[in-house]
Amino acid sequence: MTDNALYIDEMMDQYPAKPEYLIVILQDIQNKYGYISSDAMRLACDHVHVPMTQAYAVATFYQSFRLDPLGEHEIKVCLGTACHLKGGQRLVEDLERKLKVAPGETTEDMRFTLNTVNCVGACALAPVVSVDNKYHPNATAQKMEKVLKTLTDPSLAEMEGTGNA
């Protein structure tokens, strides 16, 4: 048994072997690994006694699940209504140009994953971009360029205005 399988087995022990626990188990797997591999999904199915098709249906229905690995840094652009009005979509397009990936994709070198999120509920700070779960309020293309540079080379100056999400 691999380390991952051991970890997952141990984690699943806290949940009864019932189909209703499928979603929460998949969530825990994703929180740990950033995505759900087919091996991990199989373990979850065995535990709660549902077929793989059922788990696949769940994992593809809900937006928060990923079936492929996450990059080293996850950039989530909020596209809530307030963020949309204040240029959230333009930020997405700018990041697409900079990272050369579409939303949902990861750069080839596995450094960055670009995602959009419906609303993080921090509308006073619109537009908001969350980078590795840190919110960047009143984001602009310029600010995001600095953030990307800092992530690529952490020795660069600390960016302003960050906090834990």
Binding site: P19, R97, N118, A122, A124, L125, A141
Partner: protein, 633 residues
Amino acid sequence: MHDNALAVESESLCLRSLDDLNRFRKQIMDKRDPDQPEIVVCHGTGCLANGSAEVSEAIRSALEASGIDAKVFPGIKTTGCQGFCSHGPLVVIRPQGIFYQNVKPKDAKEIIEKTIVQGDIVKRLLYKNPTDGKKILHEQDIPFYKRQTRVVLHNIGKIDPTDICDTIASGGYQALAKALTTMTPEQVVTEIEISGLRGRGGAGFPTGRKWRSALNAIEKKGRPVYVVVNGDEGDPGAFMDRTIMEGDPHAVLEGLILGAYALGANKGYLYVRAEYPLAIKHLTIAMEQARAYGLLGDNILNSGFSFDARINRGAGAFVCGESTALFTSIEGNPGNPRPKYVRSVEEGLWGRPTVLNNVETWANIPLIVNKGGDWYAAIGVPHSTGTKVFSLVGKVNNVGLVEVPMGVPLSTIVEDIGGGVPGGAPFKAVQTGGPSGGCIPYELKDTPVDFDSLTKAGSMMGSGAMIVMDNRDCVVDVGRYFLRFLEEESCGKCMPCRLGLSRMREILDNFSEGKGSEKDIEDLLSLSKAIQDSALCALGSSAPNPVLTTLNYFKDEYLAHVTRQKCPAGVCKNLITYQIDPDVCTGCTACAKQCPVSCIAGEKKKPHAIDTSLCIRCGICMDTCKFNAVNVI
């Protein structure tokens, strides 16, 4: 935990009666000195993102370094969202109520030395009233707070949500103890009926009537019955429920337990968006503490009544805010709604009678049980009683959370409390009710904000998001935005929603490119009608609302796109051109450096120009320019 947290002396923590609860409350109060200063730092999501955790840490360090006498040593308290998010991080010094805004960690030392030690004010941190330029000292005098009626939010910003003692001290769980010791379940249901409370999640169904139907269903089908909190606040632009769950989690829990008592339920669920990690954390802590104090679990307050609940994290599906989709999600399945020939109070979770209410609805229950249905019914207007919390966002000066009695005019919320649109122009429209709601134009600014008046205006209350738009916001673009959102979130089960919304969005895509004809507007109307009539659930049937209301109030703007290929608001990319005003441009070169396609040229310190044939209209030059020299034509 807060300093005042203390165990029931010597015995176990468990409270066994109303007397126990009151004795415990008195113990907490006796240990407190009302004159002792308290520094309250907002730890809501907005303030945290602006660095309030660093501020509270800096205040703590500054206090320790100050050598203040232990007798007057102030407490530091971190609270849920205080609502005035656009001015965060917020720090309030109590008991005086001195209000500091935009506080940075470097201000901590001065706050301690001046305000706490010397009793002076740090003037530069005070809020400045934009209408007269005067600084305001106390939080209660700030217009944003002054015009509000904080009923549901009364504790938020005052209590530490991670400390049950703080909740109990401010009257938490009194309603539960009252109900368990002096009221029958029937009396609880009757009080809710008298209150006239309507569901705060969107549709506004009377809560008392819902509970009564559940009781009737139980009579037929027997128990078990379930009670569920709908905390899947998916409306983009809404964060009322998040704030309540984060800032006063025990209020939601107490409401749920009261509902369980009224209906005879022993098990409940709290379905909370996974995007709200802090809300989940605070609810989890609240439930652990309530269990430890005998307020949740077996034999609550020794009354013989047992009830427990668990949290289900959502997994990012908007449709799960719909009752039947939410139930299938709790059961571990994709959140597909089902037709509601049989209502969910009769056949809900696991096919059993189930009462599902929204977070804000549950948080109202303890207040009603405590003060009576008549008290509640006296607030607001007939048929829309009580208060409502709104998240006021978009193009408005005071972005934040606002609680007002039902029935106040829209202009009171947007202009008096919200401070109007930045720059002073009148607002163009206010979108209420999220993707299922509609736009209310400036001409209808006196519309009373209650369930029925909003519906009459073509919109709806929804969960309480209020998005203010100004003349730089395009109604076609907003319509596209909501349709694209719902198209992605549609579960795909029924055809009108799956295909109809895509077709509507395609028509609007064409409009935004200056294509299409007036005939398309007619098609849009008939398609809307068909979707409203035939979609399976409310996600689909209410989806045309934003388009229908904007077509009703802003038809000229649609026509400008279709017939003149113009976007009057300057938003739709294909219909606009960026231009640099040579009289304003200073030649600072900032825009040229940022332009991703290098289409801006010019000599340093001389006006620049955009090569429109290369321009991709990304808008970065306009965002970059500090002199407002870039215009859209």
